[in-house]
């Protein structure tokens, strides 16, 4: 089996390993494979050759651009602005299609309002009870009820009962 190839086609741009082609070939020849390498022809750049290629490529690109921007009758020429804007968010806009958006409001109902007021009062009383119970079990060193300071009746700054002249 003989594999014919150009130097640049086998290992890319460089010629890595091709200096030792005999070493590279040795195990392959044992298997009956031989690699024959041709040197690539040197390409001389010619302006005349490139003119038709350039012309053709520019024609193709211009025609494709024309197709993309081709307007149908009465179409707004600025339509691409809107298209680009909505193309970017199309997924999020259509994700919840075929569903119901719930933008409900609360309507006043006499009985519902009454029941709500009742529930609110009950809730407030319950919170108050819990708060009282919590405060009774809480030892505040600055407001010690056992030693009758500050909050006590006798030390209340808003009454002067202790300094008043008593009848007894």
């Amino acid at each position: 089996m003989i594999i014919q190839t150009h130097q640049n086609n086998v290992f890319g741009h460089g010629s890595i390993g091709f200096n030792n082609i005999a070493l590279f070939n040795a195990p392959l020849t044992a298997l009956g494979i031989k690699i024959v390498i041709f040197k690539k022809k040197k390409y001389h750049y010619n302006m005349k050759n490139s003119i038709p290629i350039l012309f053709l490529s520019s024609c193709i690109s211009l025609s494709s651009l024309g197709q993309a921007r081709q307007l149908v009758a009465d179409q707004n020429p600025q339509y691409m602005q809107s298209q680009n804007k909505y193309m970017a968010m199309a997924d999020s806009l259509t994700a919840w299609h075929a569903t119901t958006l719930q933008n409900t409001y609360k309507a006043y109902d006499f009985f519902e309002a009454k029941a709500e007021r009742k529930a609110e009062r009950r809730d407030f009383r319950r919170t108050l009870r819990l708060e009282r119970a919590r405060r009774l079990n809480y030892f505040d060193p600055y407001n010690n009820q056992y030693y009758n300071n500050r909050n006590s009746f006798w030390y209340n700054p808003y009454n002067n009962f202790q300094y008043r002249r008593r009848w007894w």
């Binding site: 075929a98 569903t99 119901t100 933008n103 409900t104």
Partner: protein
């Protein structure tokens, strides 16, 4: 006397057992049962019936058929905006409407929203997992000609024991190309509730 006491006890026991046990029975979905006065299955059914009756008899349908040489219009379902005071799921009557489109074969329907996302996901999966002969291609979906959108509004007027609830359900059909509204269907339901 003893007999009477025994009978009385039995009667009380029976009454207690009866009153505590829950009873469930199947009823026809067409039967009108109003319990709280809120939006219920009867309202949904009435809306669906009205909309089905209106949408396929309206002028937009014949206009489209004439303009497109007998082609069937393709519809997609958009949002239904519930702006009422209650939680109302529009899918109950929208599905009835969609079902009628398919049953009558007058209108073609394309999938929308999350379901469409799901099937695109499945199609993407087929690109790597399905055999080449059965694999479905991207970019071959049918584009909708019209989009169906809707809104639900309500007005509540209540004083002490009396309440009047008014629902207005609107469905609109809009031309996808021109944004022209070609049909608006409505269903108005008013309820008088006395507590």
């Amino acid at each position: 006397m003893k007999k009477f006491t025994l009978l009385f006890a039995m009667a009380v026991l029976l009454f207690t057992i009866n009153s505590c046990s829950r009873k469930v029975s199947r009823v026809s979905p067409d039967e009108q049962i109003d319990i709280s006065g809120r939006w219920n299955n009867t309202d949904s059914r009435l809306t669906a019936e009205q909309m089905i009756g209106d949408i396929l008899k309206a002028n937009w349908f014949t206009n489209f058929m004439q303009a497109k040489q007998g082609q069937k219009p393709v519809l997609i379902c958009g949002f239904v905006d519930n702006k009422s005071h209650e939680h109302i799921e529009a899918e109950t009557f929208i599905k009835d409407l969609e079902q009628s489109f398919i049953k009558t074969q007058k209108v073609r329907l394309v999938q929308a929203g999350k379901k469409r996302e799901e099937l695109r996901g499945e199609r993407a999966d087929q690109q790597t997992n399905a055999s080449v002969s059965t694999m479905k291609k991207f970019g071959m979906e049918v584009g909708a000609d019209y989009i169906l959108q809707g809104s639900i509004n309500s007005i509540v007027d209540s004083h002490k024991r009396k309440k009047v609830v008014y629902y207005q359900i609107n469905l609109e059909l809009t031309d996808m190309q021109t944004s022209e509204v070609v049909w608006i269907g409505d269903k108005k339901i008013a309820k008088y509730v006395k507590n």
